[in-house]
Amino acid sequence: DARVTQTPRHKVTEMGQEVTMRCQPILGHNTVFWYRQTMMQGLELLAYFRNRAPLDDSGMPKDRFSAEMPDATLATLKIQPSEPRDSAVYFCASGLVNLETQYFGPGTRLLVL
C-alpha cells in the first residue's frame, strides 16, 4: 500500500532555530505539494513541484521558507529562522499530473516556542 511519508511527525523547537521537514512522495508520482494548516487560516498551499521543478511557490514566505526536491524520492521544506507564527501542521501531498488526485502524508506538527 503506497503512501506518502513525512518526517518528523512532531517537532518542538525554539524561535530562531532552523526546521527541516522531509517528505517521501509515492514512488512514480511526479507532482509534490506542500501545505500548511492552522485553525485560523485553514489549509494553505505553500509550494507545488512538477518533475522536481518548482511551479508555484507564491504561497510561501520567501524570506524564511525554502522548498526543494533534491531527487524524485525526497522533498524538503525548510524554515530558517523559525518563528512562533510558523506553528502549524505541514502536509505534503503527491500525485500524477494526468490523474490530478493528491495523496496526502500524515503531516508534521510543528510547534515553535
Binding site: E44, L45, F91, E100, T101, Q102, F104, G105, G107
Partner: protein, 107 residues
C-alpha cells in the same frame, strides 16, 4: 490559483440523515475534487467530477457540478458517525482548498 469556498462552515446532523455541502469557485476548471479530513490526519481523496459531468455517484456519495454557476455540491446519504470529519473541495492547481465544511454526525 484561487480557493474553493465550502459552505456551510459547520454542519451537525443526526446519524441516518443526509448531509449536503456546497462549494463555489471563480475560475474555469477541468475537474473538481472533494476530500475528507479526519481530525489530525491528512486529506483523503473522495471523488473527482470532470467539467463535462453533471453528477457522479460513489457509494453513499453524490456529487453535482454546475460549471455555469461555478458550484458543486457533495451529498452524503444515510450518514454515519464515522462520517464526522471536515470536507474540502478543490485540490489541483487552479482551485486550492478552502477552509472546509466541518461535519458532525451525532449517533
Amino acid at each position: 490559483s484561487q480557493q474553493g469556498e465550502e459552505d456551510p462552515q459547520a454542519l451537525s446532523i443526526q446519524e441516518g440523515e443526509n448531509a449536503t455541502m456546497n462549494c463555489s469557485y471563480k475560475t474555469s476548471i477541468n475537474n473538481l475534487q472533494w476530500y475528507r479530513q479526519n481530525s489530525g490526519r491528512g486529506l483523503v481523496h473522495l471523488i473527482l467530477i470532470r467539467s463535462n459531468e453533471r453528477e457522479k455517484h460513489s457509494g453513499r456519495l453524490r456529487v453535482t457540478l454546475d460549471t455555469s454557476k461555478k458550484s458543486s455540491s457533495l451529498l452524503i446519504t444515510a450518514s454515519r458517525a464515522a462520517d464526522t470529519a471536515s470536507y474540502f473541495c478543490g485540490g489541483y492547481q487552479k482551485v486550492t482548498f478552502g477552509t472546509g465544511t466541518k461535519l458532525q454526525v451525532i449517533p
